[in-house]
Amino acid sequence: MSKKVQENITIFHKDISFTGKVAGDEAIAVAGHMEGTIQTSQDLTIEKTGTVKADVKAANVTVSGALVGNVDSKGVVSITKTGRMVGDVKADQIIIQSGAQYKGSVITKASSAGKKSQQISRKSASGSKTKR
């Protein structure tokens, strides 16, 4: 999804759990458990086995596991078919694949550029199948 070639990626594997604050300038992938805040100028990927309870700020965000928390992204937020997410998304673009579970409100660049920021109802109950 990212145009740039990433030299570095930090992968938090399945049996690793972290509580606290992560900040940095490289891509992060989470297959384990993480709680707190995550901040990176690069991409964040939450793998199938990953569970994250954190406020996230990243370039692009891909959720294939579980994410509870708000996302602030400069690029694309994508929730894949195995992804489950609860929280608000602020992003340039959002992709919610068929089968994904999502609850929260969305502000994209397109909607905030419009007359009024359009928010998708908070109650798009879990299991909702929204296609881009």
Binding site: H13, I16, S17, A23
Partner: protein, 104 residues
């Protein structure tokens, strides 16, 4: 065994736990508890107590280190803190300040 490598530009502030191996190139503050090997690479800065099976240090550590296996202080590492371990190896050039307790 998958090794989680904390990259050079990352700063972690908190508690890191797990069963996998851990390698740190960046900065970690808080606490590290790993049931496997912890490697602190050259250039890495740790301000945390480390509890692990094996510990290998080439970077900088400020905190107490406790290992059930071995502790390996490599050349040019800096350690400020007490060490408790079963086996220890201190390379020539390692700077260490603190007590060493060898548990048999």
């Amino acid at each position: 065994m998958p090794v989680t490598t904390i990259g050079r530009s990352l700063i972690l502030n908190g508690e890191l736990q797990g069963k996998d191996g851990l390698s740190v190139q960046g900065i970690v503050k808080g606490k590290i508890e790993i049931d496997n090997i912890v490697t602190v690479e050259k250039g890495a800065v740790i301000k945390a107590d480390i509890k692990a099976k094996d510990v290998q240090i080439a970077g900088e550590v400020k905190g107490n280190i406790s290992a059930s296996g071995y502790v390996h202080y490599m050349k040019d590492c800096t350690v400020i803190g007490n060490t408790t371990t079963a086996r220890i190896l201190i390379a020539d050039g390692a700077s260490i300040k603190g007590s060493v307790h060898i548990d048999i």
